[in-house]
């Protein structure tokens, strides 16, 4: 935990050592390379497909409904097939991926900012502030996260913005706990103590001394959380409480496809495989960064 002392005067080659180490770890292991391949494939699909001609996630055409993958109808090949309304599944999976990834990234940024802020403030000031923040964290962990999301989503109503904010606000606890733990040890270090004795304000100390030291760790936690949040979003959408039509989402597509499992299982399978690829890729790679020994995800702090 104490290994991450940000040294601003370090040469650039030093600063990117983490990334180079991670790349080294990835190329050393077959499973890492496999995960990286999964992630690159799904990212290419998400990014490139909407740029291709024939990209059309919305137009319904009952004449081509439930086409199988690679079925050619009227001179057009549907690589992923079509759904019940004859919409092109390749386009829909790609667009849903964009939405999912965007929501996931925004939610991670929100929760990271909130968690780091609350954690650092709690760890730096201690006392009442710390009790309140940690009490809030315990309280939130006492309700299973899916249930909390369902309850709040039910009440504020589902929309992309609500969903993003909600996922962000309910995911701060991990960052808060780790940031607080790090702040507790950092505040006793000489460089912080000397700044305090020279009259530096708490805000300055938190911003200049604590934040740069916890940020690398937080980004690692964030990369792991991204996978989790994508799964949460997909689960909510599967339950009909997340992304709303006409916008496609992987979760909703799986829920629709479940009704046609016997006729055309691909409607549900393809978006499911896409989630799997994205989540596996993201989580495996976040492990490549963690195996540097900076933050051990195998033993998360209690309650995460």
């Amino acid at each position: 935990m104490s290994s991450a002392t940000a040294d601003k005067t370090a040469p650039a080659s030093h600063r990117f050592a983490g990334i180079r180490n991670a790349l080294h770890i990835i190329t050393q292991s077959y499973s890492m390379m496999f995960a990286a391949a999964l992630l690159v494939t799904v990212l290419l699909l998400i990014i490139l497909v909407p740029l291709l001609p024939g990209y059309d996630p919305y137009t319904q055409n009952l004449a081509v409904s439930l086409a199988a993958p690679f079925e050619n109808i009227d001179g057009r090949t549907y690589i992923f097939g079509t759904d019940t309304l004859g919409r092109d599944l390749l386009s829909r999976v790609a667009l849903a991926g964009r939405v999912s990834l965007l929501i996931g990234l925004c939610a991670v940024v929100i929760s990271l900012a909130l968690g780091v802020f609350l954690g650092l403030v709690a760890g730096f000031f201690r006392g009442v502030v710390e009790s309140i923040v940690m009490g809030l964290a315990d309280l939130q962990l006492s309700i299973p996260r899916v249930l909390l999301l369902i309850a709040v989503a039910a009440i504020v109503g589902p929309s992309v913005v609500n969903l993003t904010v909600l996922l962000g606000l309910t995911s701060w606890v991990v960052y808060g706990r780790v940031a607080r733990a790090m702040a507790l040890s950092l505040r006793e270090r000489e460089f912080v103590l000397s700044a305090v004795t020279q009259g530096a304000s708490a805000a300055w100390n938190i911003r200049k001394h604590l934040l740069p030291n916890v940020l690398p760790q937080m980004l690692i936690v964030g990369s792991f959380e991204l996978g989790q949040i994508i799964v949460f979003e997909a689960s909510l959408s599967y339950l009909g409480l997340g992304i709303q039509p006409p916008l496609p989402s992987w979760g909703m597509m799986i829920s629709e496809g479940q009704q046609y499992l016997e006729i055309d299982p691909w409607i549900a399978l393809l978006p499911g495989i896409a989630i799997f690829m994205l989540v596996t890729g993201v989580q495996f790679l976040s492990q490549a960064f963690t195996s540097e020994g900076q933050f051990d995800l195998a033993s998360p702090p209690k309650g995460t």
Binding site: L139, S142, I143, R145, V146, L147, I150, A234, I254, T280
Partner: protein, 305 residues
Amino acid sequence: MLRFLARRLTQSVLTVFGVLTAAFFLVRLAGDPSVLLLPVEATDKDIALLRSELGLDQSLPIQYAKFLVNVLQGDLGLSLRQRVPALDLVLERLPATLELALTAFVLGLVLAFAVGLVMRLTPSPRLRAAIMWLAFIRQAIPVFFFGLLMILLFSVTLGWLPSLGRGTIYHLILPALTLATYELALYLRLFNSALGEQQGQDYVRTAYAKGQTRTKIILRHMLPNALLPLVTIAGINLGMLLGSAVVTETVFSWPGVGRLIVQSVSQRDYPVVIAGVLMMSLVFVLINLAVDLLYAVLDPRVRLS
């Protein structure tokens, strides 16, 4: 032990109180229930009448106090749709949820235990790597998609097991396995690293030096020490399990609290949603309490800290 018990109980009561408070404000956030309850053509007088009937014309602190008193008396309001107490609806569904969650919990632990030991005892590193790989892949599949894969394989393709509903033991197999395999994957990784940590300990080396067999050392000496982290994580993870159960119930049309909550959300039946979430949280708090007490029994150091 008594002091530990008292402290832990206070904590649980505080948590339940916090959840109740959060629930109260959530319901207030939802807007005026009188608007939801009455038809569009209701006059202002009708609305005022209903508001005073529901106590909505009183100040917020008084409403809050009344809410707490009501909850303590087991009154969580009426279902907006079915006009019966929301709590009754939830309690009716609770056995199904507990049946599913507990089966999955026990199944997950037993499987993790068995597979984890096989993994430690087997001389083949290939088998070990393959198991860890499967565990990792299972963890990356969302529970609802894994459930769907189970349905596709065992119900649609093979036709061995029913894909939805509750009734016979066969109905329980697929949803319980869906949940249990997730637990299994998580426990396996932890169990493995916990056993691995014991590997280099002095007492293990001593046992080897005394000429004990590897199997005996693992079973008699390392296993008890590796159990503690497993119990902790299993307890912490129960929240995740209950949450996953909510989703799994929908996948398999399992008539539990989770499915009730999801259905009530789509019907905008907030009292039932809140009652369901409160009940699940209460179950979660109670289980966590039990796990902590178990942990204190297993490890005396916990009591003193």
